[in-house]
Amino acid sequence: MSLARIIVPPASRGLDMAAGYGWPQSTAVRAGDYLFVSGMVAIDPASGERMNGTLTSEAHRVFQNLKLVLEGAGSSLERLVQVHAMIYDRIEYDALNRVYRQYVPNGPPARTVWSVQIIDAFRVQLDAIAIV
């Protein structure tokens, strides 16, 4: 029997980028024991408004949003296995790490940091694979 592919809507409406922004993506897809989360940016989880700011402020928001999505899907930050941390400029690598440590202090997930352009002038985007 093949695995079921389950679309997991975000716990907070504002995080639904398909509904709020018309982006053709689901927030998270569950396949078996694994949860694949779309790239997350700094969005107000209640209103869906963009919360552009410093890399530090955006990273806090993104981690809090990621926590909402993971917990809504029966996972958690502690169950993350691999993260792609995208930042707009490598010069902010340490700023990212300072926030990062606060959310995954023990046994952090595998990670690669990519310096890339991010939509809407956001400074950080995280995508993730977690286990449920």
């Binding site: 691999q82 046994g107 997930p109 690669t112 694979i129």
Partner: protein, 133 residues
């Protein structure tokens, strides 16, 4: 029953870059039937120092370290299902491929290559998902 989540580390401590440099990630995570590795750089396995060089050199050292990391966890390069290669400049794509081919001579894994900024003047970073043991 929930899937087990286990941190993976290389047998050679010198290659445990995240621990040695106190970075907030693990070398790798095993979750169920899969192993997820962090991005790896060219690191000298005898000194633990970064080993910058040509793209060919960095690709060779990085994949060699990746082989060690996977074998430390009971997997192997032959069990890799997806790889992401980050290059400092896509002009060097062919130089990376020349070495890459030697590590994956047959039925290579799915792969994405991107041109990005890397840390500390390094030219190549490689991460992967592999089947566990």
């Amino acid at each position: 029953m929930p899937v087990a989540r286990e941190i993976i580390a290389p047998q050679n401590d010198k290659l445990n870059v995240s621990r040695n440099l106190k970075l907030p990630h693990s070398p790798g995570i095993r979750a169920g039937d899969f192993i997820f590795l962090s991005g790896m750089l060219s690191v000298d396995p005898t000194t633990g120092e970064r080993s910058p060089g040509t793209v060919a050199h960095e690709t060779r050292q990085t994949l060699s370290n990746m082989r060690h990391m996977l074998e430390s966890a009971g997997s192997s390069l032959e069990r890799v299902v997806k790889i992401n290669v980050l290059l400092y400049d896509m002009l060097e794509f062919d130089n990376m491929n020349g070495v890459y081919r030697q590590f994956f001579p047959k039925d290579p894994p799915a792969r994405t290559t991107c041109g990005v900024q890397l840390s500390a003047g390094m030219k190549v970073e490689i991460e992967c998902i592999a089947l566990a043991g």
